[in-house]
């Protein structure tokens, strides 16, 4: 049978009514747990995997796919509505998405996230089916020096989340980098900045920091405005649905996000967050509405959300073709696959085509069910914002702490949540941007480790960093991304300033 016939056969099985129902249950359960801040797809899948064991292989595979996609998607809803990222890959979504929700455009934000996720999931799953063996070859070219160059590029893009002051943006970034040092140094096994506290040895959990800074910091800030702040958020201004302009501004970011997210997800040390950072930066550079960035630009939701989902499918490339679990989620999926008698590895596509194509068909169906479940719910979700402030924020804190407790029921973790919440509050008072802190915490260790690995392998030869064409190209792009805007700004300083003044009105 040809590739295409296998896929059609898989789709025919997956589209049986019972299997569609399993997919819907899987997506619902996955979304319900994945929506909790701090509980990412890894824990969601680990918790719910046993539920699938009771079904026949086809049904359990499809329910599993539903749980996976539901867990991936759940995080973006809270990001947009409550400014509480469910997992590290939806941090960027909160930047623009929540601003949109505040402005009564939560409906279009959720819609572009859902449809973008669907489009990205669809394209990336098909790419997984047809070009996986090729992509994986490219991914293996990436060694420590190439990753280091990629991290440098990612660092440059952080500046797009700096806000209006370079000083405060950089300070935020370095606060994040400082937090990133905390814990056992992976390469030497020594504890840094841990002060003998065992709970600090594993470093600061990204989701704890993100939930604290975004959700708790924000809650404190809003509460401290007393009666001055806006009394109630207007949940729906204009249409709850995307209008023509929204569509026109969304479809390109969806495709670009997919193109960025999929290969980065396929890289063994890429990670979904990096794709979302790069996508956000790209959209900010390419948009025709730069003044809207920071105030709720739909491109800033559409692109990163597509990148996030595409990289989730990308993660499956090394997993299926090499048996390489590159994320915690993938490691759990590997355990799940083994349950179904699927032994991922280089020979999988040859020895077990039926199951592989069954899985890919299940992913496509699950992706579709996600859309079916979420589009009708958007109207309901945005109503959440009409809850009076005391109850809304009490609920936000309830869910924020629920996620943290569920992931790790430790008093110390809650203490960190409180401490970082206060830090986030103080930073808000003084106008420091929050996102660079989280970005620094994510990128800092990656960049440091890859640099040190590269140098250890070359036994200290610095030229190794530019000894590969891929690394050189990435570093050149980074340099261009850093220098070009500086030149443009120097030339058009007056215009930019007047624009800023206009946008602040």
């Amino acid at each position: 049978m040809s590739t295409f016939e296998f896929l059609l056969q898989g789709l025919a099985v997956a589209a049986q009514p019972m299997n569609l129902l399993y997919a819907l249950i899987g997506v619902t359960l996955g979304t319900a747990v994945g929506v909790l801040p701090g509980i990412g797809p890894a824990l969601t899948v680990a918790l719910l995997l046993p539920v699938t064991y009771k079904l026949d292989p086809a049904g359990s595979l499809i329910m599993f796919a539903g749980i996976y996609y539901g867990g991936m998607y759940g995080g973006s809803t809270t990001s947009i509505l409550l400014n509480t990222p469910g997992e590290s890959a939806s941090i960027v979504t909160a930047l623009e998405g929540n601003k949109m929700a505040r402005a009564g455009r939560g409906g279009p934000a959720l819609a572009t996230a859902a449809i973008g996720s669907f489009v990205a999931g669809l394209i990336a799953t098909l790419a997984l089916a047809f070009v996986a063996p090729f992509i994986v070859k490219v991914a293996l070219v990436f060694g420590p020096r190439e990753y280091f160059a990629l991290m440098v590029l990612a660092f440059v893009t952080v500046s797009s989340a700096f806000g209006d002051s370079t000083l405060r943006g950089l300070t935020s970034l370095f606060v994040g980098l400082t937090l990133a040092i905390i814990g056992i140094d992976q390469l030497s096994g020594q504890a840094r900045l841990s002060f003998g506290i065992p709970d600090l040895l594993d470093g600061i959990e990204v989701t704890t920091l993100a939930v604290a800074m975004f959700a708790i910091g924000e809650t404190l800030y809003i509460a401290a405005q007393g009666d001055k702040g806006p009394d109630k958020v207007e949940a729906v201004k204009g249409s709850v649905w995307m209008n023509a302009a929204d569509w026109a501004r969304s479809w390109k970011p969806w495709l670009r996000g997919t193109a960025i997210g999929f290969p980065i997800g396929a890289m063994p040390a890429g990670g979904a967050e990096i794709g979302t950072f790069l996508s956000y930066a790209a959209e900010k550079r390419l948009t025709k509405h730069p003044e809207e960035f920071g105030n709720g630009a739909i491109e800033g939701v559409a692109g990163p959300e597509a990148a996030n989902n595409a990289s989730a499918a990308g993660t499956l490339v090394p997993l299926l073709t090499l048996g390489l679990p590159t994320t915690a989620t993938a490691a759990i999926m590997l355990a799940g696959f083994q349950q179904y008698g699927l032994q991922p590895g280089p020979l999988l596509f040859a020895t077990n085509p039926q199951l592989v194509w069954g899985l890919i068909a299940s992913l496509l169906i699950a992706n579709f069910m996600l859309l079916v479940l979420n589009l009708p719910l958007i109207g309901l979700w945005v109503k959440l914002l009409t809850i009076p402030k005391p109850w809304l924020y009490a609920g936000i804190l309830l869910f924020a702490t629920l996620g943290t407790i569920g992931a790790n029921p430790s008093v110390f973790e809650l203490g960190m949540l409180l401490a970082f919440g206060l830090l986030g509050y103080v930073m808000r008072i003084f106008g420091y941007p929050i996102a660079p802190v989280v970005v620094g915490l994510i990128l800092g260790p990656l960049a440091e480790q890859q640099l040190r690995r590269a140098l250890a392998i070359s036994q200290g030869d610095l030229t190794t960093l530019v000894a590969s064409p891929v690394a050189v190209v990435l570093l050149l792009i980074a340099a261009a991304a850093l220098i070009v805007p500086l030149i443009l700004r120097a030339r058009g300083r007056g215009q930019v300033l007047s624009q800023l003044a206009a946008s602040e009105d």
Partner: protein, 314 residues
């Protein structure tokens, strides 16, 4: 009132399938790792075999399992329904992290599964045999880079033992630590490093596909179905086993300990557990009682020695 009503119906529905003792299992790691999978497999089998009606798995991640261990030792003292999963990695982590709580502070019940280390090179590598690799290591230890798991973990310890046995200063090994098995495997496949070391299961499918060359395994005797010599055969006296175990809480009476041991024995003997071992590719290395305690003591002292040699423990 409605909620309470609903809740009590739920409560009734859930109380129905109550068999024997309830267990909670601490997996001192994040979801996805070996300990988490071991804990969740224990959970599945205990429930399906009717050993326990209600088993809960709790992840307490951190610092090579020492955080979970410390919490377990203090909070579950005397609780016969509490178990913790652990393993050889914990032995090393307790030493490198200077953990105040050690395996002496819990009640080890049994070793459940184990895995041997495998040393591989990319198919394109000039090293054809383990002997070639050791020769290169002797000539210039820095030129041989090893990709493996976290610093001070089983893989690192094994490389230290190999260097020591080959007469090379273990401090001189060029060990590149990776966080997950997957990332290390990618580096080996991409020929970014000279050699790789990890549990055999990580490499199995690559070795079968011919993209990696298996040079040696760290068992005492050749393993069934694996076409590779042992490290011992090449003249280096190194045997490393990465085992996983289950331990009970401290402060149990002898009867309580016997009851837990009996439950675990029943589990290990069950067809469902054997089936799980087969699908997951885990070796059955069940060992309990005094024999396990003895083995544990031996591992602890050997590990302490080599970690000092590598320079991770003063």
């Amino acid at each position: 009132m409605k909620h309470f009503f609903l809740a009590s119906i739920l409560a009734g529905a859930m109380a129905l399938p109550a068999f024997a003792a309830d267990y909670k299992i601490i997996a001192p790691a994040n979801p996805g790792g070996g300990w988490d999978q071991t804990a969740r497999t224990l959970q599945t089998v205990m429930q399906s075999e009717g050993i326990s009606g209600n088993v809960q798995v709790i992840n307490v991640p951190g610092a090579g399992g020492t955080i979970g261990l410390a919490q377990f030792a203090s909070q579950d003292k005397g609780n016969a329904g509490a178990l913790i999963v652990g393993g050889y990695v914990m032995v090393g982590a307790i030493l490198t992290n200077k953990s105040p709580v050690t395996l002496k502070d819990v009640t080890p019940i049994a070793r459940l599964t184990g895995e041997y280390e495998a040393i591989v090179v990319p198919a394109s590598s000039p090293f054809q045999t383990f002997g070639d690799l050791v020769e290169a290591l002797k000539k210039d230890p820095g030129a041989v880079s090893w990709a493996g798991g976290s610093a001070g973990g089983t893989d690192h310890i094994a490389v230290g033992l190999i260097a020591k046995a080959a007469g090379v200063d273990p401090k001189k090994i060029n060990y590149i630590a990776y966080s997950g098995g997957g990332e290390a495997l990618a580096a080996i496949l991409g020929a970014q490093v000279s050699a790789g070391i990890s549990g055999y299961g990580e490499f199995e499918s690559q070795v079968k596909a011919g993209t990696l060359r298996l040079l040696a395994v760290s068992s005492a005797d050749r393993l069934e179905g694996i076409d590779a010599p042992t490290i011992k055969e090449s003249g280096l006296d190194v045997v490393v086993e990465n085992w996983r175990m289950v331990a009970a809480a401290p402060g149990l009476s002898d009867e309580q300990k016997a009851a837990v041991s009996a439950d675990i024995e029943k589990l290990v003997k069950s067809a469902a557990w054997q089936e799980q071992l087969k699908t997951k590719g885990w070796q059955d290395t069940y060992l309990s009682g005094a024999a396990f305690d003895e083995q544990l003591a031996k591992d602890v002292s050997a590990t302490e020695g080599v970690l000092k040699d590598i320079g991770l423990v003063e």
